[in-house]
Symmetry: C2
Subunit: 233 residues, 2 copies
Amino acid sequence: MSGADDPLGPGPRTKIRRLAERGRYDEETVYAILDEGLVCHLGISTPAGPLVVPTAYVRVGRSVYLHGAPASASLGTAVGGGSVCLVVTLVDGLVMARSAFHHSINYRSVVVIGAATEVTDLDQKRAALEALVEHIVPGRGEDARAPTDAELRSTKVVRIEIAEASAKIRAGGPNDDPDDLDLPIWAGQLPFSVVTGSPLADEHVPVGTAVPTYLTSYARPSSAAAGERGPGP
Amino acid sequence: MSGADDPLGPGPRTKIRRLAERGRYDEETVYAILDEGLVCHLGISTPAGPLVVPTAYVRVGRSVYLHGAPASASLGTAVGGGSVCLVVTLVDGLVMARSAFHHSINYRSVVVIGAATEVTDLDQKRAALEALVEHIVPGRGEDARAPTDAELRSTKVVRIEIAEASAKIRAGGPNDDPDDLDLPIWAGQLPFSVVTGSPLADEHVPVGTAVPTYLTSYARPSSAAAGERGPGP
């Protein structure tokens, strides 16, 4: 099943309306962004109005899994309601144009729409939480103490099946007006990246204990476009 | 007016229900997080369900300003509806516990609830967009070509007055179960930070043009808690 043959969108809430040339609906692009991010923003409808909640997630196939406390009001509302909206945004840098008007941010984002259902089967919960740990720190699952059944029962796991999704990407340099190109103003990109500092052991780790290599060499998978000198889309 | 005397919350959508000890409602804490972030996630209600949109923002006093194209469907919906929800999340690192169950993420987030109104006065729009550029790259506003009236008219500016807000902060090391502390498993924190790469001039900048110091020494203001060895809240 190729992404080109079976696009994830567009749909009513995922169609890229502004700057449509930045929109992508293929699985490869959407999944690469979902697999790089750590925290998503979940949008749900509450009687008082919309609510947005930042939370960790993992994509497995065409589903996204979230977790929380059994009493989590936001996950409870998500499961009880209609479809939810989930967004992952990666900021790649700042775009300095000659005009204030054309300043921009380089980013990659994904919008997912789908219905949320609670996962109650313990084996399915275990698999989803294992995938979550592996998504956040590949290799950690083999070291950490696995969840007990009691811990699994005291964790709410929610699956969002991706009904539709879109990616939006801005990369490259500024798009100044032709008349501005001769202005004596520096213009270009300031790339951003997320780096990890030195792992910091807690006070119960015996002195001299080796830091796992999956932490000393930690890096997110990246699908960021290489910095380009040309104007972006 | 001090933050302690005039807290921004809690309210129905900003009260921290889970792990209430992580919640803060004072202006100083909330504003510091809003002033450090670059991109927020705006939650709005649409007839099809909730929608979340990542977008740049700036806080000025007790308001947050957003901007977009005049035809922006999300900003139009935000202005036409009831209160919106806006979230800023800063990820400070990963928390490795001995048990998979107690793994966590260190973060600082703010939830803002308020009504969105369109700013139509050109001078007010100019001031909001100047503040936005200054928020994203302090110093850039003096160099960039200022917006023309036509550019201001072709930019929609939206103000969200903060009706209520809360911050949620997790910092420090893992909170393992006492029985797990003797397990031979490394535990602690992996700090994250955002760094900038070398500024990349576009092809129209004359060779030898100096890169502005506000880019070579770029840094976000930071209110991150220093790494601690003790358990987090």
